[in-house]
Amino acid sequence: MKFGVVVFPGSNCDHDAYHVISKVLGQPVDFIWHEQTTLGEYDAVILPGGFSYGDYLRAGALARFSPIMGAVREFAARGGFVLGICNGFQILCESGLLPGALMRNRGRRFLCQFVHVRVEATDTPFTHLYRPGQVLYLPIAHGEGNYYCDPETLAELRREHRIVFRYCDANGRVTEAANPNGSLDNIAGICNRERNVLGMMPHPERAAEEILGSSDGRALFQSLALVLAAMARE
C-alpha cells in the first residue's frame, strides 16, 4: 500500500499532505513529479493544493494538459483512489474527472479561515470513518472555490449521493450564511460515480493534528489507509 503526492511546479500544499501521510499516519508516501507519465506502483494519489502552473489563466486550466494528469485519468479508470484538495479539486474538474467548475469566490476575494462542513456521504473510501451528518471544522484557503454545475448535473449528484461535503454552521445547519464562497447548494466536496475520486475545497491536511486547531481532517486519511490495508490483505 503506497500513497503518492503529485507535485506540480506551483504546488504548495504538497509537503503538508506528505507530512500527514508520513508523520501523522505513519504510512509510506512518495512525491510524484508532474512530468511523470505512469502511476504503476501507487494505490492512492493526492493532488495537493497550490497554484499548479501559476494559475494566472484559471485555476487548474493548464494542469489538465500535464503529463501526470494523463496517468491520473488512467489510474482513476483502473479504480485507483484519487483525492484532490483545493487546487487538486479544481484540476479534477478541469480534467473532467469530476463534473462542474470552481469559479471566483462570491466576494471576489481570497478567503483563508476555518469553516464547518457536514459529511453528507459516508459510503466512500475517504469518509467511512465519519458519522453521517458529522460536522467537521476544517480550514479553507482559496480564491476560486465557488462550485457550480448545471441543474441536470446537480440533480445527478444528489440522486447518486455524490455530494460528500457541504458548508454548514457549527450546529450542522446548511444555511446561506454558512456558505463562504457562493457555492451552489453549499457544495464543498463531491465524488465521481465510482466513488474512487474525491474533490474538496477544504483542507483536511491542515486539520489533522490538534495543535493546528482541529484534527477533524485526520479521519479522512485514516479512512483511505484502512481501505488500502484491507485491499492489501485480500
Partner: protein, 746 residues
C-alpha cells in the same frame, strides 16, 4: 537622471583618476543612492547592538541569522516597499513581498512566514481605501501563490500616511546551521550564472525613486515599479534550494534594487574579488536594451549565482528541471574590479568596492523638534459620554478594530506550522523537526515617535517583546524597518538619531540584538512627511511545544495549559489579574487621537527594568503552568484589552467578564480604562493558583492587581462601586468586527 551631488562626482573623478562614462555614472548614482548606500543613516546605525550569543549573522548580509539550537537557525529580515506601493499599490506591495522572500532563500533558508506592517491614511478618504485594497491584494496574491503563510503584522491609520503609505514586509526562513549561504563572489575563475526571469526595462531607477520625495507627478514614475510573478519566484525558490544542496554554489544574491549592478559589485566587494560581465549573454525580454538599462533594470525574480568552475552543467540541469533560464554571463576575477562588456566594448570598469562600500557617509545636520498639539487635560479626563458609550466608540476606531478583513485574504496556514493564527498578540509557528516553536510580531507606534522619538522607539521594542512573551516565547532578536521623511531636514535626522538611541537602549536591556534591517527615507509628498515610524520585527523562541498528535500525547503535560498561550479568556470562574500597574498615560494615546482628535502630551513613561521584570515574571508563571490566558495591554488601554480577551476565538464562543476596579492611583475613570501605560500584561489563572502568582510577582518585584473574574456573557465593569459598563460581549464584538468591512466591503 543623475542624482550624484557635485561633491560626490568630484570624489569619483579623484578616485578613478578620470571622468566616469555615462554608464558608470548610472551605476554609481544607483549604488550611492540613499536606498542602496545608507549614506545618511550609517553613522547612526552603528550605535545599535548587533551581537549576542545566538546571533550567527548580524547586519551586512542579505538577512540576519539567529541560532535556535539543535542545529537550526532562523533567517529573517524586514524591508520597505513604501514608494512603489503609493504609485502602484498592488504591484508595489506584491514585489515588496517577492524581494524580501528572495533575501531569505538566497541565504539557503526556506521561507516559512511573512508578516506585514501597513500604514495608510484614514479610511474615510476613498483614495486611502483604494491604496489599502490594492496593497492587501498584492501581498495576498504574491504570498498565497508562492506558498508562504502570511501570519501576522499590523495595520495603522493616521493622516500623515495619506499620500505616504507604508508597506513593510518581514520574511522569516528556516535552515540548518551548516546550510547557510552568503552573498560572496569567492574564487577567481568561478562562473557568474544568471538565473530566473529575463531582464526588461521595468524598474529602472527604482532605487533612486525610493531616494527622493514625491511631487504631484508621482504617477509618472509608474514605469519604475516592477511587476511580480509569484509562480516564477516559487520555481526560483525550489531550484535555488535544490542547487544549493549540490555543493556547486559558492554564493548568491538576489538582483533587487540596482539590479545586476548591485548584486555583482556587492558580492565581489564582500569577497575582495572582481567580476567580469558580458551583457550580451544576459537573457533579455526586450530588444535593443542598452548597457545602462541591462545593468540597472530591477526586473523581478532574478538571481546571480557564483558557481564553482566545472560545475556549471550540474546547476543548469536543476534550473532546466524547473523550467528556468540559467546562463553564464561572466566570471570571478582577482583584481577587485567590476568590468562590463557590451557588444564587444568595455562599457564600465570600476572598483567593486567603490560602488559597494565607498559611498560617502554623511553626518547630516540635526535639530531638535518639538511636536504635538496642546492638550486641555481637564477636558480629556472628563467623560464625554457614559463610559459604555465611550467604549463602543473606541471599538469603532479602525486602529483598534479587528483586522480579520485583512488577514483572511492571506493564506496564513500553508505549510501547517502556524499554531497561533492571526488575531492574537503574535503569530507562533512550530518547527516541525523539533519541539520548538518561534513567535513573531511586528510593532511600531509612529504617534509616540512623533511626540518623543527616543521614548517611542523604546516603547515599540518593549511592546514587541511583550507581544511575544504573552505567548510563552522568550524574545531573542529583532530586525527593524526605519521609515522617515527626508533626511535633508534637520528635524527628521534628529528624530532618526533619537530613535536609534532609544532602540539601542531598549534592545540592550531586553537582550534582543538587531540583526539587520532597512531604512526608508523620503517618505514625504509635497513637503508633508510621515511620523518617524520605526517598525520592529521581533523573533521569540518557545521550547517544549508538543507537536505530536494528541493520541500519542504525553500524560504529564495534559493538565497544563499547552503552549502557546493565547489571549482569550478560557473558563468561567478564572481570576483576571493585571501584571504591572496603570498610570495616567493618555499622551499620544488612541483615546486622545480618536475621541478628541489630538496628538499630543507626554508619551507613556517606560521603565525598561520594570518592563523586563514584568515580562520575566509572566514567562516564569507560564513555565510553572498556571497561566491560562495572557494578553498585552497597550493600544486603547485596559478596557480594550479586556474586551478583546472576551471576544470569540477559534472554536470558543464569546465569554463575559466581571471587573471590579478602583481609580486609586489614577486621575479618572477615563485614565483607568484607556491609559496606555506599558509594562502591563493581562492574565487569567484558576483561583487556587493566586498564591503561586503572588509569589512570582514578589520574586520579580512587580506590582499586580486582581481585576475580576471570567464568566457569563456580559462585559461588566464596576469602578469605585459603580457599574459603568454592562454590555453583552457579542454586541461589543460585532462593533469591533464590522469596522473594516463597513469601510472596505465584505
Amino acid at each position: 537622471m543623475n542624482d550624484l551631488t557635485p561633491e560626490e562626482y568630484a570624489r569619483i573623478v579623484e578616485r578613478l583618476g578620470r571622468e566616469p562614462n555615462p554608464v558608470e555614472v548610472g551605476m554609481l548614482a544607483a549604488m550611492w543612492s540613499e536606498h542602496c548606500s545608507y549614506k545618511s543613516s550609517k553613522v547612526h546605525l552603528r550605535r545599535l547592538p548587533t551581537s549576542g550569543p545566538r546571533v550567527l549573522q548580524g547586519p551586512g548580509e542579505n538577512a540576519g541569522v539567529v541560532d535556535i539550537g539543535d542545529g537550526w537557525c532562523i533567517v529573517f529580515k524586514i524591508e520597505s516597499h513604501n514608494h512603489p506601493s503609493f504609485i502602484e499599490p498592488y504591484q508595489g506591495a506584491a514585489t515588496g513581498v517577492g524581494g524580501i522572500l528572495r533575501d531569505i532563500f538566497t541565504m539557503g533558508a526556506r521561507p516559512i512566514a511573512v508578516l506585514d506592517s501597513l500604514r495608510f491614511g484614514p479610511l474615510a478618504d476613498p483614495r486611502n481605501r483604494a491604496i489599502m485594497d490594492g496593497v492587501v491584494r498584492g501581498i495576498a496574491d504574491y504570498g498565497n501563490c508562492f506558498g508562504v503563510p502570511t501570519v501576522g503584522g499590523e495595520v495603522f491609520f493616521a493622516e500623515c500616511y495619506t499620500r505616504n503609505p507604508l508597506v513593510n514586509a518581514m520574511a522569516v526562513g528556516l535552515a540548518r546551521r551548516e546550510q547557510i549561504f552568503y552573498a560572496r563572489a569567492s574564487g577567481p575563475g568561478n562562473t557568474v550564472l544568471y538565473v530566473g526571469a529575463k531582464t526588461g526595462r521595468d524598474g529602472i531607477h527604482g532605487a533612486r525613486m525610493a531616494s527622493a520625495e514625491f511631487t504631484e507627478s508621482a504617477s509618472e514614475q509608474r514605469p519604475a515599479v516592477q511587476v511580480g510573478d509569484p509562480f516564477l519566484e516559487k520555481l526560483l525558490l525550489e531550484a535555488c534550494l535544490e542547487a544549493l544542496r549540490t555543493n556547486a554554489i559558492v554564493g548568491l544574491q538576489d538582483m533587487g534594487a540596482a539590479g545586476l549592478t548591485c548584486a555583482s559589485c556587492e558580492m565581489s566587494a564582500r569577497a575582495h574579488t572582481g567580476i567580469e560581465l558580458e551583457l550580451d549573454r544576459v537573457p533579455q525580454r526586450e530588444v535593443g536594451m542598452s548597457a545602462y538599462e541591462i545593468l540597472l533594470s530591477e526586473s523581478q525574480e532574478r538571481m546571480l549565482l557564483i558557481v564553482r568552475a566545472g560545475h556549471e552543467r550540474e546547476v543548469k540541469e536543476i534550473f532546466a528541471k524547473w523550467g528556468l533560464d540559467a546562463v553564464e554571463i561572466g566570471r570571478v576575477t582577482d583584481d577587485g574590479r567590476l568590468r562590463v562588456f557590451h557588444r564587444g566594448r568595455l562599457v564600465a570598469d570600476l572598483p567593486a568596492r567603490l560602488l559597494a562600500e565607498e559611498a560617502p557617509v554623511y553626518h547630516r545636520p540635526m535639530k531638535r523638534a518639538e511636536a504635538g498639539d496642546d492638550v486641555d487635560w481637564d477636558r480629556v479626563h472628563a467623560e464625554p459620554a457614559p463610559l459604555e458609550e465611550v467604549l463602543r466608540q473606541m471599538l469603532r476606531s479602525p486602529n483598534l478594530a479587528s483586522k480579520q478583513w485583512v488577514y483572511r485574504q492571506y493564506d496564513h496556514m500553508v505549510r501547517t506550522n502556524t499554531i497561533l493564527l492571526p488575531g492574537a498578540d503574535a503569530a507562533v509557528l512550530r518547527i516541525k523537526e523539533t519541539r520548538k516553536a518561534i513567535a513573531l510580531t511586528l510593532d511600531g507606534n509612529g504617534r509616540y515617535c512623533y511626540l518623543n522619538p527616543r521614548a517611542g522607539a523604546q516603547l515599540a521594542v518593549a511592546e514587541a517583546c511583550r507581544n511575544l512573551v504573552v505567548t510563552g516565547a522568550l524574545p531573542i532578536a529583532c530586525t527593524n524597518c526605519l521609515n522617515f521623511a527626508s533626511p535633508e531636514r534637520p528635524e527628521v535626522m534628529w528624530a532618526f538619531s533619537e530613535v536609534i538611541d532609544g532602540m539601542a537602549e531598549a534592545c540592550t536591556v531586553l537582550e534582543t540584538p538587531v540583526t539587520g534591517g532597512n531604512v526608508s527615507f523620503y517618505n514625504e509628498t509635497e513637503g508633508r512627511g510621515i511620523y518617524p515610524t520605526p517598525v520592529i520585527g521581533m523573533l521569540g523562541l518557545i521550547e517544549g511545544v508538543n507537536y505530536i498528535p494528541a493520541n500519542h500525547g504525553n500524560a504529564e503535560r495534559r493538565n497544563r495549559p499547552s503552549l502557546p498561550i493565547t489571549p482569550w479568556f478560557k473558563t468561567e470562574g478564572d481570576l483576571i489579574v493585571l501584571l504591572g500597574r496603570t498610570n495616567d498615560d493618555l499622551g499620544g494615546s488612541e483615546y486622545l487621537a480618536w475621541i478628541h482628535g489630538l496628538v499630543g502630551g507626554d508619551v507613556p513613561t517606560l521603565d525598561l527594568h520594570l518592563e523586563r521584570a514584568v515580562q520575566r515574571a509572566c514567562l516564569r508563571a507560564i513555565a510553572e503552568g498556571i497561566i491560562k490566558s495572557a494578553h498585552d495591554c497597550s493600544d486603547g488601554g485596559l478596557a480594550i484589552a479586556l474586551a478583546e480577551c472576551c471576544f470569540s476565538s477559534h472554536r470558543r464562543e464569546a465569554i463575559g467578564a466581571d471587573l471590579v476596579l478602583t481609580t486609586e492611583g489614577v486621575r479618572s475613570p477615563i485614565s483607568l480604562l484607556f491609559s496606555e501605560t506599558p509594562s502591563r500584561i493581562l492574565v487569567t489563572i484558576e483561583p487556587e493558583q493566586l498564591a503561586t502568582l503572588e509569589r512570582i510577582a514578589r520574586e520579580f518585584r512587580i506590582p499586580y492587581a486582581v481585576l475580576g473574574r471570567v464568566g457569563g456573557s456580559r462585559f461588566r465593569v464596576t469602578i469605585d462601586g459603580k457599574t459603568v459598563i454592562n454590555a453583552p460581549v457579542h454586541e461589543l464584538e460585532a462593533i469591533w468586527q464590522n469596522v473594516l468591512p463597513e469601510y472596505l466591503g465584505p
